[in-house]
């Protein structure tokens, strides 16, 4: 792990943005024994609109709690993309729900972009609501910041027991999709123009 990694997860309220950030933070700090600090936005926007959570991963205790220029941005809605993409660090990683986000005005040379049809995958698995866990698996495979086992354990610990299997399946699907994508490399800008936005 690098000494500092700042991650922002964003989407609209109800997509499970916060849980996604909790899983990442828990995997890094509780399971792997490093340090993680998670913060989230509160208020009406947390129940709709652009909801976001931030996680800072580090080998030493985290001091400053907020993320201003994330190394990794995970977005699951167009609104969240428009709001947070400009803050992404040059050379950072952008992970998108490719059916819900249309990329505009980003320089692909500086940003590595990876897309996943997380909602469709979640629906195939059986429940649309696990798209956040699909995204989390995808995040794990693409970034390699946290081990697959640690993330998987954190998913297990963070969801109600009756949904455990479903969520692990979602996680594995996202992770495997990510591994395949990693081999084919980041997307080019031209690849996004054809994407339809299903918001």
């Amino acid at each position: 792990m690098q000494s500092l990694n700042e991650i922002r997860v964003a989407g609209f309220g109800g997509q499970g943005v916060i849980l996604s950030a909790i899983v990442i933070g828990k995997a890094a700090s509780i399971v792997e024994g490093n340090f993680a600090t998670m913060t989230q936005n509160f208020g009406p926007e947390a129940r709709g609109g652009a909801c976001s959570a931030q996680v800072i991963l580090s080998n030493s205790p985290v001091l400053y709690p907020y993320v201003t220029h994330p190394d990794v941005l995970v977005v699951m809605s167009q609104e969240a993309y428009l709001r947070f993409a400009p803050e992404l660090k040059p050379g950072g990683i952008l992970l998108i729900e490719q059916d819900l986000v249309r990329i505009k005005g980003l320089s692909p040379a500086e940003t590595r972009v990876y897309g996943i049809p997380a909602t469709r995958i979640a629906e195939q698995i059986g429940k649309r609501m696990v798209l956040n866990v699909v995204m989390t698996g995808f995040f794990g495979a693409i970034t390699g910041l946290i081990s697959r086992e640690a993330l998987r354990k954190a998913v297990e610990d963070s969801v109600p027991s009756s949904f455990r299997e479903l969520n692990l399946k979602a996680f594995d699907s996202g992770y495997d999709y990510g591994l395949q994508h990693l081999e084919s490399g980041a997307l080019e800008a031209s690849e996004f123009e054809e994407v339809t936005v299903r918001e």
């Binding site: 916060i18 849980l19 909790i22 828990k26 610990d157 963070s158 969801v159 109600p160």
Partner: protein, 304 residues
Amino acid sequence: MSSVAIPQNPVEPFLRSERMPHIWCPGCGIGTTVNCFTRALLDSKADLTKLAIVSGIGCTGRVAGYTNLDSFHTTHGRAIPFATGLKLANPELNVVVYSGDGDLFAIGGNHLIHAARRNVNLKVICVNNLIYAMTGGQTAPTTPGDVITSTAPYGTYDPAFNLPYLVEAAGAVYVARWTTFHVRQLAKSMAEMFQKKGFGFIEVLSPCPTLYQRRNKMGDGLDAMKFYKQVSKIKHGAPTSEVALSKSGEIVVGKFVDRERPEYIGTMNTYLEQQLGERYVEPHTLSDDGGCSGGELEVISCNR
């Protein structure tokens, strides 16, 4: 010389005689209500060790300080939430709230209606002298219209609360009203209320000769007794909507409400036990060594 045995006043053991004389004025009715209270305790053979009394601020608020019980003189208006905490933490206590109309219905009005709504097992005795007496005779939410007070020098025009009506609507299971003229009925009513489970309420009309009566040329304490005798009408079961008070009109007294509703602590325990099954652990107080015990280890999901 033979000594003459002075018979002990039967209410003496209930009072902190070292604190006498009390602060109440000649002709004030609060002492009369305390007398009735002690008689009610005698009659109901209550375990005094398990009886606690909580007062707010005001002339009636001083009652707690004169009773030889676990007694709490709290802040203005907050006797009921204090009593709620006391009762919930230690359900074997019988908790009586003894306070005045201003304390319970103005500054403390919100707490009163919510305790009645929950049906917490508290017994509220409200001495209503129709005025703020401790601070010098200002208008209270119980002061009838056309009455001179120190803050209504030309007379009152604020509408007053009808206490039994309000308390019944909020959920009390026992509601009665008496005056300090009706000492037997009052003591009996108190004893009856103590037997009842849930939020009970007795309003006691009580004279304030120093401030209310003097300013309104209504005579002294004795005149008040005559007035109560003259205008009171016992109407048990009267609809509380019809028992509002006025300056010189009829005073309807009696037991207005006596009904059953699930009491708060019992409901809480039963409901939680039902929901949680074996995971439910009933509350308890600290042991003599200051520690707490009980409670199952339960591993819960760490966050939301």
